[in-house]
């Protein structure tokens, strides 16, 4: 018999309570319990980055975190990136540069890019490529993603793109 845990956490700025099994991943709870399905499951072994979320502002894979660990912490998912109907500049630039095709990897890339630009507003191309090395995309060939990140960084720095 499984005893469910009651977890009190904050997701995208809102307090949330949920019940989970002790071994359940944050990813499964986000998608299946809380219906926040923007965060995607790719490999479930921490290799692809599709499930990237921020845990107290730090980039992590939701598949490599027990949901129980989120108690008292703050989680940011892709659903918390845009402001209402207004896309975040990172999202806007991914659209403008066509930095996606099938879209499965995109939420992870956007969250990982946010983590990078929050810390380093003016990364070099090499820094961007290394930072995003844990996010796999099988469609774009990455170049368009790099251009989108560079352009978003410019916008966020207040420079005209």
């Amino acid at each position: 018999m499984m005893s469910k845990l009651q977890v009190d956490t904050q997701i995208n700025g809102e307090r949330m309570e949920f019940l989970c099994e002790p071994q359940q991943s944050m990813l499964d709870v986000l998608r299946d319990t809380l219906r926040l399905t923007g965060t995607k499951e790719g490999c479930a072994t921490g290799d692809c980055g599709a499930c990237s979320v921020l845990l107290d502002g730090r980039l992590v894979c939701a598949c490599l975190m027990f949901a129980a660990e989120s108690a008292g912490r703050q989680i940011t998912t892709i659903e918390g990136i845009a402001r209402g109907d207004v896309l975040h500049p990172i999202q806007q630039k991914f659209l403008e540069h066509a930095a996606l095709q099938c879209g499965i990897c995109t939420p992870g890339f956007v969250v990982a890019t946010k983590a990078l630009l929050d810390e380093n507003p003016d990364p070099s191309e090499t820094e961007i490529r290394y930072h995003l090395a844990g996010n796999l995309c099988r469609c774009t060939g990455y170049d368009k993603i790099i251009r989108a990140v560079q352009d978003a960084a410019k916008t966020l720095r207040g420079e005209a793109s």
């Binding site: 005893s3 072994t45 980039l59 598949c63 290394y130």
Partner: protein, 293 residues
């Protein structure tokens, strides 16, 4: 039958009590730090029920202290936090590089030094750097704390020296003396995010004339465990790390290696590469030691 449970104790005493209680009842408990190995292993190798004992709430596993005499790194601190510590990077640049080489930005947000050590992979990148820097494991046990050199802690492939009911609190080092520095290099076929074909950690001390007065060389991914190679250190000692000394140290690493052949490289290739890495890593550590004079 045992079911899954999760506990996040707030003190070392509580943690030891939970581990002891499980041990006494014949139930399984497993310590969780960053979880980047544990959760993958639970999905791929062994999904059996257990109590997950999260040690990230403990002061002792989260403490990072770069003191005048001693450096202490809590076992559960994520790599990204260690890489961001300027005092730590200044004292043990090679160790920090060995951590930074592991996985992606996402993995760095969780993976810990203690976890990499306890997981005890032959190719664990931090382990060679820990051994080269004479790291000492600080272990919580029922009888109190006990300490053990890192090279004695790893006892086999995936096996460490923790007794049932014990767990790793952190790793401590003597603060490197003036003229002392370290380096870690590995070879992988890609530019990043891969497992070492071979890896070498080196710590050297140079006197004012540039003569090597202390050295430790550790090699990884070329034997069932990371191993200390005293013969390689002997080859460096008393030299100015000229080509002849570096070559001799490299040959000692080749001689000490007992690698396997797998998809990442043949045994013959690994024996050769470990010598090349030893030369390069020793040179890098020496360059840093000169800068710290």
């Amino acid at each position: 039958m045992q079911s899954f449970a999760y506990a996040a104790p707030a003190t070392v005493a509580q943690t030891l009590a939970i581990l002891a209680e499980h041990l006494g009842a014949g139930r399984r408990a497993q310590v969780l730090a960053g979880g980047t190995d544990l959760m993958v292993q639970m999905r791929t190798l062994d999904a059996g029920p257990r109590t997950i004992v999260d040690i990230k709430k403990l002061a002792e596993t989260n403490r990072l202290d770069v003191g005048a005499n001693e450096i202490y790194i809590g076992a559960a601190i994520p790599g990204a936090m260690l890489t961001a510590s300027k005092p730590l990077v200044a004292c043990l640049p090679g160790l920090v590089e060995s951590i930074d080489l592991i996985g992606s930005s996402q993995i760095q947000g969780r993976a810990s030094l203690g976890g990499n050590l306890c997981n005890a992979s032959p190719a664990g990148d931090t382990i060679s750097a820990l051994v080269a820097n004479s790291g000492i494991c600080v272990i919580a046990s029922k009888a109190g704390q006990r300490e053990m050199p890192v090279e004695a802690f790893v006892v086999g492939v995936g096996k460490n020296a923790l007794k049932p009911g014990e767990f790793l609190l952190g790793i401590k080092f003597k603060r490197p003396a003036k003229g002392t520095s370290d380096a870690y290099q590995r070879f992988i076929p890609r530019t990043e995010m891969d497992i070492a074909v071979a890896g070498v950690g080196v710590s050297v001390r140079l006197d004012a004339k540039g003569v090597c007065t202390a050295a430790r060389v550790a090699i990884g991914a070329v034997a069932p465990t990371v191993i200390l190679v005293p013969a390689a250190a002997d080859a460096l000692m008393g030299s100015k790390l000229d080509d002849a000394a570096l070559d001799a140290a490299g040959r000692a690493c080749t001689a000490a290696a007992s690698p396997i052949s797998d998809k990442r490289g043949t045994a013959e290739y690994r024996r050769k590469v470990v010598a090349v890495l030893c030369r390069r890593t020793a040179k890098q550590a020496a360059d840093r030691a000169r800068e710290s004079q």
